[in-house]
C-alpha cells in the first residue's frame, strides 16, 4: 500500500491524538523482513525490508593491507549508495553528505559492538582480509539507518571467508564462516513537532526536525547519532535510550530467526 503524502498539519493533528497515519503506535516498528544469502557471489548478503523501505547489503572480502595502527587485524569499510531507482529524489553522482553520514553511523555501530572478530582476519605480516560492506538502498520509505544496520549485521553474520590456495583466492565451495563476536541493532526516532516516533516512514521523515539513532547490544549503547537542525532534551534522549534497549530484543530475534531459517534451508 502506497501512503499518499499528507500535510504536516494532518500529521501533527494525528500525533496529538496519539495516532500515526499508518495506524501504528508511536513506538512500533513496521513489519520487518530479513532474507540472508540473496547474492551467492558475495561473501555474505541480506535483503531487508522495514515496511516499504528495502535495503540490500553485499559483503565482499579481498586481501589487502592492515591499518597502520592495527597491524594484526583485518579492516572494515562500510559504504552506502542511495540508488536513483530507490526514490524519485535520489540522483546520480558522488555520495551525498546524507549517504556518507548513513554509512558512517552503521559502520560505527558494527565497529563499536565488535560484530566482526577483526583479529581472525589476519593472514600474515602486512596481509589481512579487507571486509567491504556495501549498503544498497533499493526502495526508500524512511528509516534507512535501522534497515542498513539490520542488513549489514545479517550479511556479516552469514558471511564466509574465502580461502587462499597457492596465492589464489577461492570464493566457492566449502568455506569457513566469518568469525563474529556480537550483534548490534539500532533504533531510529524522529521528532516531528513535539512528538517523537520510532521507525519514521518516508512521509514522517519529510516533516521531521530532528532524528536520533541509538545502536546497542544487550549490554551497552554502542553508537548514537543525532541528526538534523532540531534538538532533543537530555530527558528525551534518556527515554529513547530506554526504548532502544527494549525494542532491540525484537530486532535481535528477527535477525536470529532469519539466520536460523537460512542455515536450515
Amino acid at each position: 500500500m502506497q501512503i499518499k503524502a499528507v500535510s504536516r498539519e494532518y500529521l501533527e493533528e494525528l500525533f496529538n491524538k496519539g495516532e500515526r497515519v499508518d495506524g501504528r503506535g508511536f513506538m512500533d516498528y513496521r513489519g520487518i523482513g530479513i532474507t540472508p544469502g540473496v547474492i551467492p557471489h558475495a561473501e555474505g548478503s541480506a535483503d531487508v525490508t522495514i515496511g516499504n523501505t528495502r535495503v540490500l547489503v553485499g559483503v565482499k572480502m579481498d586481501i589487502g593491507e592492515p591499518m597502520p595502527d592495527k597491524p594484526n587485524e583485518g579492516t572494515l569499510t562500510t559504504s552506502a549508495e542511495l540508488l536513483p531507482l530507490a526514490n524519485a529524489d535520489y540522483e546520480e553522482g558522488p555520495p551525498s553528505p546524507e549517504a556518507i553520514e548513513f554509512a558512517r553511523v552503521v559502520d560505527r555501530g558494527i565497529r563499536a559492538a565488535e560484530v566482526i572478530d577483526t583479529e581472525a582476519l589476519f593472514i600474515e605480516k602486512d596481509k589481512v582480509w579487507n571486509v567491504y560492506v556495501d549498503i544498497y538502498v533499493l526502495n526508500y520509505d524512511g528509516n534507512l539507518f535501522d534497515a542498513g544496520t539490520l542488513s549489514s549485521v545479517t550479511a556479516l553474520l552469514t558471511s564466509r571467508v574465502p580461502k587462499l590456495e597457492g596465492g589464489e583466492i577461492i570464493r566457492e565451495g566449502s568455506l569457513p564462516r566469518l568469525k563474529t563476536k556480537g550483534i548490534v541493532t539500532s533504533c531510529t526516532f524522529a521528532k516531528i513537532g513535539n512528538s517523537i516516533v520510532l521507525d519514521p516512514n518516508g512521509n514522517e521523515e519529510s516533516f521531521m526536525n530532528a532524528r536520533l539513532t541509538v545502536a546497542n547490544d544487550k549490554e551497552y549503547i554502542r553508537a548514537m547519532q543525532k541528526g538534523l537542525s532540531g534538538s532533543f532534551t537530555e530527558k528525551e534522549i534518556e527515554r529513547l535510550i530506554d526504548a532502544s534497549f527494549e525494542k532491540s530484543n525484537l530486532l535481535r530475534s528477527s535477525i536470529e530467526s532469519a539466520i536460523k531459517k537460512y542455515k536450515s534451508d
Binding site: 555520495p95 548514537m224 537542525s229
Partner: protein
C-alpha cells in the same frame, strides 16, 4: 599495539588533568579582516580558525529558499595539522559528515527567517589537531557567528565526553581518543538547554550517558563564559579605540 595507561595511580590523566578537567581554552574574536565574523581558538594543542561570510547571495541560485537563509558549513583539517603523517587534500568522508552535523547545530540557533533567499557560510579550518576538533570547531564557529552580528537564539558550545576504562572523562585528547572505551561529542545551546549535536561510539550504559551529559553541562558553563569574554573583549577594544579617536579630535 600496547594500550598505554591513560589514567595514572593518582587519578590524573597523562597530561595531568583530572577526569572532568578541560584543557586550557582561549578564544579571540575578529581575527580575519575579510570575514564578516571570525574567531581563533586554542584548546589544548588544538588550533582552530573559524570564519563566517554572509548573509550573501545564494550560489548556485536554485538552492535559495524564499522563506529563510540556508547555511553552508565546511570543516576541514589542514594537511599539516596532525602529529602523524601528511593529510590528504580535500574533504574526506569524515570531514563531510562533521560538516553536515556542524551545519545542523547552527541551523538550530541562527534566526534564518530574517534573511530569506540568502546563504550564510561557516568555515572551520583545523590548523593543528589533538582530538576533539569538531567540538573545538563548533565552539569557535559560534563565536565567529556572534562576531558577525548574525542574530542567534543562543550561542552553542561543544565538548567531547568519553570513557576511559570505567572512568568518565571530559575533553578527550588524541591519545585518549585512540584508546578510549567511549567517545561522545556533544553540542548544546546553553540557555535553552537543548542537545544540538550528539554522536557516540564505544560502549556506555544509560547511567553513564546521563552522568556524562551532566559533566558536559557543567563544563559548558566555563566554555560559554570564555566564548562570551571573547566577544566582550572584541567590542571593548573597539569601544576604547573609538573613545581614543574622539579624544584625538
Amino acid at each position: 599495539m600496547e594500550k598505554p595507561k591513560l589514567i595514572l595511580e593518582n587519578g590524573r590523566r597523562l597530561d595531568g588533568r583530572l577526569p572532568n578537567e578541560l584543557r586550557p581554552l582561549s578564544i579571540k574574536a575578529g581575527v580575519l579582516k575579510n570575514a564578516d565574523g571570525s574567531a581563533y581558538l586554542e584548546w589544548g594543542n588544538n588550533k582552530v580558525l573559524a570564519a563566517v561570510y554572509g548573509p550573501k547571495e545564494v550560489f548556485p541560485k536554485h538552492l535559495a529558499d524564499p522563506e529563510k537563509a540556508i547555511v553552508k558549513c565546511r570543516y576541514s583539517m589542514a594537511p599539516f595539522s596532525s602529529l602523524e603523517e601528511h593529510g590528504r587534500a580535500g574533504p574526506n568522508r569524515r570531514a563531510i559528515e562533521i560538516s553536515k552535523v556542524t551545519k545542523e547545530v547552527f541551523e538550530n540557533v541562527i534566526l534564518l527567517g530574517q534573511f530569506p533567499s540568502t546563504e550564510i557560510d561557516i568555515f572551520i579550518e583545523i590548523l593543528q589537531s589533538d582530538g576533539g576538533t569538531r567540538s573545538a570547531g563548533i565552539t569557535a564557529a559560534s563565536v565567529a557567528l556572534a562576531n558577525s552580528g548574525i542574530p542567534m537564539r543562543d550561542m552553542p558550545y561543544a565538548v567531547a565526553a568519553g570513557k576511559i576504562g570505567n572512568e568518565l572523562v571530559l575533553d578527550v585528547n588524541k591519545i585518549e581518543d585512540n584508546y578510549s572505551d567511549a567517545d561522545m561529542p556533544v553540542a548544546m545551546s546553553p540557555n535553552l538547554g537543548n542537545v544540538l549535536l550528539l554522536q557516540m561510539d564505544g560502549n556506555l550504559t544509560k547511567d553513564e550517558f546521563s552522568r556524562l551529559i551532566e559533566m558536559v553541562k557543567k563544563a559548558g558553563e566555563k566554555i560559554t563564559a570564555i566564548q562570551r569574554q571573547a566577544i566582550f573583549d572584541f567590542y571593548n577594544i573597539k569601544e576604547k579605540g573609538k573613545e581614543a579617536n574622539e579624544e584625538a579630535k
